[in-house]
Amino acid sequence: MDQGQPEEEKSKRSTVSRRTFLKLLIAGAAAVGGIMSLDFLYPKPTNPELRTVTPTTAKVTASTFSTTPSSKGASVVVVRGSASVKPAVLVERALESLGGVEKIVPSGASIFVKPNVGFYDKEAATDPRVVVAVVNCLKRALPSQIVAGESSVRGNDTEYALQVTGMRSIVGETGVEVRDLRKDQAVNVSIPKGKAMSSVNVFKTVRDSSFIVDMPRLKRHSATTITISLKNMMGTVPDSEKGRFHQVNLNQCIADLNSVLRPSLVIIDATNVMTKRGPTGGTMVELNTVIASLDPVAADIVAAEELFKAEGVTDPAASAGRVEHIQMAAELGVGVADRSKIEIVEVKIS
């Protein structure tokens, strides 16, 4: 016990030591906090979507596409092959029946091909052999370039999906690049006719193209009843937009998106269609069919009918007519949903 020490010294020592101690404590906490907030000390996430995608704010209207929707009527080609007929043959006949690829695609066009590779499952993706067949036909129109691309369902890695479905390797053999759009820059596009959105962020590759070839696989879908060419266009927007679509109104947003990124040519892979449940886990039915059109709405109506027929639904046409996003797209002038105004050209190859 320091009884011998004068009072002043005693209190001075304890005052200083407490103050100093507190200062040290705060300084120490600040130092630790400061070090822990240094970003470079932490491992970087490999998920590309975690790096914020900042779209350029310049308002640009979408590039003009070579076909304009007609309110008069639309033509849809349905090519059915027996089991032995190869996808390439189905595709060739489909494009022939539409007037021939040289007529449909303007020479010098910058083509963007949109297959469906949303998941890691082969059955859920567009058959790569159908995509190859289409690409080989498109080359004959002498385009300035052909690029294929996709951004998968939120949470799925597009690179891995392209690999595991064989899309990357099989389509790569044609010399056409299959791009993981998530690595692309996002740009803002205004939607003059938009009912749910006035503008949308899309990947630059798609916005910069002059001709979109939409190639979905014909499937059921839990939220939108079916997923065909209109729904397939969702792969052209970044994850944040996909989320926004759901928040605002999924069906209307799909319609709005298609009103500015309107596919010029739709080729639906109905070689093996997903019934009863989708977009994954459904029952696959072999139809060996390809459905093609210059009108995405008409194509979806006809394809939806085909799907419901394959399921044994009592009134397939009525069910197809009830799909919300197709009707909404028709209202925006994206295409013709009125069955009576759609001419169906049936081709059978045995």
Binding site: L25, P45, L50, R154, G155, S222, A223, Q247, N249, E324
Partner: protein, 192 residues
Amino acid sequence: MKRRDFLRLFGVGLVTFSFFDILPRVFRGRPLVRPPGSRVEDLFNAVCVRCVRCVQICPTSVIAMATLGDGFKELGTPKIDPARGSCERIHGRCAEQARCAQVCPTGAILDVQKENVKLGSTVINTGKCIAWQGGPCLTCYEVCPVIGAITLFDESRPLFNENICVGCGRCAYACPAEPKALTLTSKGERRT
């Protein structure tokens, strides 16, 4: 005096420790979700050497490093954060083998068979769910890799089965609602 100072120091130390250990736990309210095949919690915190190799190797970045806010004992250990990604042990890039278990040098994470993988289970807040509020959304149902974990009420609203759910977090990551309607919890987790 010395004793008094010592006691003061001890008191401050206790308060600091509590601040960084008990408060985060209270704040967080629930235990951390760990990578698939992780040892039981006490053993995990003891065995993990905080090398963060699992954080670096995870292909989806779902494994994150626990910070001071997660607790003193947990600091630097790996945790599953579905805000960053989802676990692909069941379906995807780690379907053959868990990469995190492969690189773990001390066996804090063990490579277990797929049938035994359960990180936890997801719970839904129907008040925040777009589908339950009447909108068209079934993103969780779409992305779920385990048939039966999510079923549909009225073909439009998701119902979660915590027994079948493996806690991969795909649904929680993909949920487009803001704020998210789905939370991945450690409930039902299988530890080694």
